[in-house]
Amino acid sequence: MTSQTLTYREALRASIEQALIEDDKVFLMGEDVGKYGGCYAVSKGLLDTYGAERIIDTPLCESGFVGVGIGAALGGMHPIVEIMTVNFSLLAMDQIINSAATMHHMSGGQLNVPIVIRMACGAGKQLAAQHSHSWENFYAHVPGLKVLSPATQNDARHMLGQALNDPDPVIIFEHVMLLNESGEVLDKPDADMEKALVRRQGQDISLITYGGCLHKALSAAEKLASLNINAEVIDLRCLRPLDTATILASVAKTHRAIIIDEGWMTGSIAGEISAIIMEQGFWFLDAPVKRLCTAEVPIPYPSHLEQAAIPQVETIITSAQAIMAGEQ
């Protein structure tokens, strides 16, 4: 098992490149993925190597080119469609939800849509109220879709390949604050794409999270350890379907949980997980499950307000301490 250190961005690029090499039905399509190199430079250089037939710059028309990707998938191709950020995906939501997610079912199982849609998400770059959101929950709500949230370099490296091997539409969320982070990349995925993973063992409290908040949960766990609180950290990885078993096994052990989610709280994935624990893990609980989510405000521009809006390591620590101290 060889290992190397890559940035999250490099890992994503490597995963795209491998897919292009291994399967001639794969192509990458999106706004500025070619000549510009991708708005976040993920696909930089690929145009020169693979040419304009396989690295396709689209006009600005999210609904159009996502629909074209779905049609191409119906026609036997395996498109990787990049929507610059989840914020613009609202323009393509009809195609994703009313077409991609329903085709297999509406056709009585005849058709399938092997498309992978990648989009950047998340706050932290001071891009304000139209460029900073986390709407994984919109897609995680929809039967017919699968939703991935790679939080590590190794998942960034391997989840695309796993998604392309899936015959159904898969959406991959790439958090913008992870792109420059380096980490270990192995030549194998950590697990099946639909499996949640325990990223840190612990028995006192479960910190359940995904995507851009994983590293926050892990560093909170480190600090908590020095306070003699041994937190277990769960990386959901796949937001639809949810790996309920892994969540419940952890809560059965720790009897306490905090869910950390960069989405707005109301109607968040965090709420779904809390409800699942309520339904299937209620009798394990020594304390109510807590949610740490983004404040209910469109992300403001100034850094101090943006950071105040999204989950922080400090709040995770103090929340865990409060729960352990039995304060509610």
Binding site: G64, G67, V68, G71, M103, M106, S107, G108, Q110
Partner: protein
């Protein structure tokens, strides 16, 4: 009538038969809807049959079709069995979409019939994508995309037209301009009511065709496909037509006059072709009777087939949301008998 095609008597009668099959089938569907055998929405194609029949006559089995919620005629003209279409409208597992889709969602992979889309203009990007897949796989096939003139106002129309023209993809766009989108007349929905002209603004050849004349539609299709194949570029047909019935199951039709409807009915594609055959081809009533009675039989068969079909078991409710693990697109496991 347009003479550009060498149309033998046999072919014209075949086309008449196709149109009559659709007409009689849908007339029966209206009855079955009243009997609550068919539920949901029911969008009848009555009056517009010449378009689907004219275009389909020139498509190869490998060509793709994308249609709307008003697609019974397209499905039949394409060769889906009346059995599987009616069973679908009954919601039975022997329907062409296993009963999951109903009237608005007819699908048949073997016939490259990609539905059955109930989102206005939603099918256009899909058609462009199917054409892209063919081009990338070096398959010389056309993707025929049918839609109503109401779809022209949608952003997805604009985006799909531009992408098809920009990327030179083999799409045949067929706008079925039946003058109304539900109750909205074209003049109330477009600042430019010449749809072909709008299509040309994307740098795409586009023509207006008499959609009530099956021969005109067929000859226009011949030219279109010729162009698409020699230029691997899209082509646009605006077919002028009219819907004789209401928009769907319930429609007071307050937005148009009976006189207007009558006027168009007189130009109807079926009656017109019958008259023409009678005048020019020694087409006698006996022959028409034979055709009608064959169709009657086919319809009775279809009703029996649909009645005898099974209901999906409720325990399988969530089946078919995701592709089964084995990956082979599971027609065998999920799709009904044809």
């Amino acid at each position: 009538m347009n003479q550009k095609l060498h149309l033998d008597r046999h072919h014209l009668i075949r086309q008449l038969t196709q149109m009559l099959r659709i007409r009689r089938f849908e007339e029966k569907c209206a009855e079955l809807y009243a009997q609550e055998k068919i539920r949901g929405f029911l969008h009848l194609y009555i009056g517009e049959e010449a378009i689907a029949v004219g275009v389909m006559a020139k498509l190869t089995p490998e060509d793709n079709i994308v249609a709307t919620y008003r697609e019974h005629g397209h499905a039949l003209a394409r060769g889906l069995s009346m059995n599987s279409v009616l069973a679908e409208m009954y919601g039975k597992t022997n329907g062409c979409s296993r009963g999951r889709g109903g009237s608005m969602h007819l699908f048949d992979k073997q016939h490259h019939f990609y539905g059955g889309n109930a989102i206005v203009a939603g099918g256009l990007p899909l058609a462009v994508g199917l054409a892209m897949a063919n081009k990338q796989q070096h398959k010389q096939n056309v993707t025929a995309c049918f839609f109503g003139e109401g779809a022209v106002a949608e952003g997805e129309f604009h985006e799909a037209m531009n992408l098809a023209a920009l990327w030179k993809l083999p799409v045949l766009f067929i706008c079925e301009n039946n003058q109304y989108a539900m109750g909205t007349a074209l003049a109330l929905s477009e600042s430019e009511t010449n749809i072909a002209k709008k299509a040309q603004s994307y740098g795409m050849p586009a023509v207006q065709v008499d959609g009530m004349n099956v021969v005109d539609v067929e000859s226009a299709t011949v030219k279109a496909i010729e162009y698409i194949n020699t230029n691997t570029s899209p082509y646009f047909l605006e077919c002028q037509t009219y819907r004789f019935r209401g928009h769907s199951s319930f429609d007071g039709q307050l937005y148009r006059t009976k006189a207007e409807v009558k006027q168009w009915e007189e130009k109807g594609p079926v009656i017109r072709l019958i008259k023409w055959l009678q005048q020019n081809n020694h087409f006698d009533d006996a022959e028409l009777q034979r055709i009608e009675s064959d169709i009657d039989n086919e319809i009775s068969q279809a009703i029996m087939f649909a009645e005898q079909g099974e209901w999906e078991s409720i325990s399988d409710l969530c089946k078919g949301v995701y592709t089964p693990a084995n990956h082979t697109t599971s027609i065998s496991t999920l799709q009904g008998e044809q």
